[in-house]
Amino acid sequence: MAEAQGGRSLVVDAVTHRYPSGALAVENINLDIKGGEIIALLGPSGCGKTTLLRIIAGFIAQTQGRIIIGDDIVDTLPPNRRAVGIVFQNYALFPHLSISENVAYGLAARGIDKATRQREAQRLLDLVQLPTMSERLPRQLSGGQQQRVALARALAIKPSILLLDEPFAALDKNLRLDMQIEVKRLQRVSGITTLIVTHDQEEALSMADRVAVLSQGKLEQFGSPSDVYDRPQTLFVNTFVGASNRMPGVVVSADRTAAKVRLDAGAEIIARPASGALTEGGRVTVCIRPEHLQFVGDETGFAGVVGMSLPLGATVVHEVTTADGSGVKISQARIGETRTLESGAAVRLAPLAPSLANAFPTTL
């Protein structure tokens, strides 16, 4: 039973894909995924997530590179022989087949007898908590229920890899959270190596063991959620995953672990060289998350004028305009009577700690 097995490893080895139209959708992607891991493919629309998923499933033959599942190079195998389960973004349930026929479809294709098929379909429907829906047609189910059926159908073939393409995009917020928990539970039970495509960073960070961040077909970073969030390796990752203020500046002095940067906004701060060594005098972009800034009373940090204050429930966000005219957001936890500052108030801001400001060389 797949539920007991460990799940097979998946290696994406230097995969590049160029569509016949000439579009370079995926460029030299390397992923080394261990058996049983949950991986999130995170990136903005059009960055090549679906393309990569379809390459792994075998619907698209990549222009270059290899896909290795377990010990097998699967590049020459058609999709129906890869044992890769896929849940499509629109579920793609067979509209003319009942729910249990949908779930049993893959078993029928494997020539398994009808009684076993029905028993297995029922077991999977129990697993996804839809035990009473087996005779209905897909359109008689809600979106979230259809999604669970799609999941059960993919699990029925005991796939060695499970691929989910934006599985929760069509669900409302509460249902999405339920389904995220559900999928994670099922994945833990079955131990199937799982790849989830998403452009929702919270989803990626909360569900995955590791997150692969893609941008324009390239892999920007592949690491644990805290790596990606706390130690972003590129400017793109820093700004795409979580909100971040971008402040331009010039490197005053730098070694491997810290750099002193003169911000255009008018202060010298210590920042972490996030993507390798920085050269003195070079222009950099410093990224500081709104929650990593603080108001300071002394002469450290940089000056600014409060523009707008947004009390957002648990946090209060102030928008501050700095000396060079750029806007910076600062977010504070609302503890008791956190004061909101008047528009026009002069303030000074500084990072909470030097390690929380990331400096990236400005390319251009």
Partner: protein, 287 residues
């Protein structure tokens, strides 16, 4: 999809817009039809004596019945040929690039762009004793005496199939293009081969198109007066020509009217079988 309630809403305030067409139908379709019915209920050519004699004559005359039977059979044969040849074209259309799609559509539509008479004469040239097929086969030494292709059932079926092909292919293309291509992929990733995917997924979901195509092709094939008479020649008699002879040559209007009414009812019966099948299959595909 919520197609049913939506279309109901549309018709509820669209009734007024249908009035001109309804009037047109009343004057040029319903009125002549009633006149036809009236005429057919007379026993003599002068239409003076009421009676069911014309119908009795038709239904007890083996010759008339055989004409009706061969016409309905002809329709079935043409429909079958169109379906068998048209489905692969429609299927291919879904799987090729945009340039090839344009070419396929052009080939499919081409018959509609030339007159039926021209197309039928082209078939006479192809099928004749000294026609393209016989000439080719003879020059290759495959046959010695020319095959009889023209004025045969085979010839009529082939020519009609070509002439009516768009009526089959276009609904099929529409039906196939409405099938989510992810369903193919889903089926394949679940371990099904191409044949299983075709028979379990593509074919059932394209059934509404198959039925629409069959209905149109069938109705067009059995009423195709020109092609039937030119390719069939004098030897083969089908209902439209039979009717024409009775009305025009023999001036037996009441009998001709009875033939029309019987033919009409026979066609309606066949078409309603198709539509019933269609309604049953509409259980599918709505999602």
């Amino acid at each position: 999809m919520g197609a049913a309630p939506a279309s109901r809403d549309v018709t509820s305030y669209g009734m007024g817009l249908a009035v001109p067409l309804a009037l047109f139908f009343l004057v040029f379709f319903v009125a002549p039809l009633l006149q036809l019915l009236w005429l057919s209920l007379h026993n003599d050519t002068a239409a003076l004596h009421w009676g069911l004699g014309q119908y009795l004559h038709f239904l007890t005359d083996p010759f008339s019945l055989s004409v009706l039977g061969s016409t309905l059979l002809l329709g079935a044969e043409v429909t079958a040929v169109c379906l068998v040849l048209g489905f692969p074209i429609a299927w291919l259309y879904q799987r090729v690039g945009p340039r090839l799609q344009t070419i396929i559509i052009l080939i499919v539509l081409l018959p509609l762009l030339t007159s039926v008479v021209v197309r039928t004469f082209a078939w006479i040239v192809i099928l004749g004793r000294q026609g393209i097929i016989n000439a080719t086969l003879q020059s290759l030494g495959i046959i010695n005496t020319p095959l009889k292709l023209l004025y045969t059932q085979f010839g009529v079926v082939i020519a009609l199939a070509q002439v009516q092909m768009p009526l089959m292919t276009l609904p099929l293309i529409t039906a196939l293009s409405r099938i989510d291509s992810n369903l193919d992929d889903a089926s394949c990733s679940l371990g099904a081969g191409s044949w299983r995917t075709f028979f379990k997924i593509v074919l059932p979901l394209s059934l509404p198109g198959v039925i629409a195509g069959c209905t149109l092709t069938y109705a067009a094939a059995i009423t195709a007066f020109i092609t039937q008479s030119l390719i069939g020649g004098g030897q083969m008699l089908f209902m439209p020509m039979y009717l024409y002879q009775q009305a025009s040559t023999l001036q037996n209007w009441p009998f001709a009217s009875a033939i029309s009414i019987i033919f009409l009812l026979a066609v309606l019966a066949v078409v309603s079988v198709f539509t019933t099948l269609g309604r049953m299959s509409r259980g599918y595909g709505g999602a």
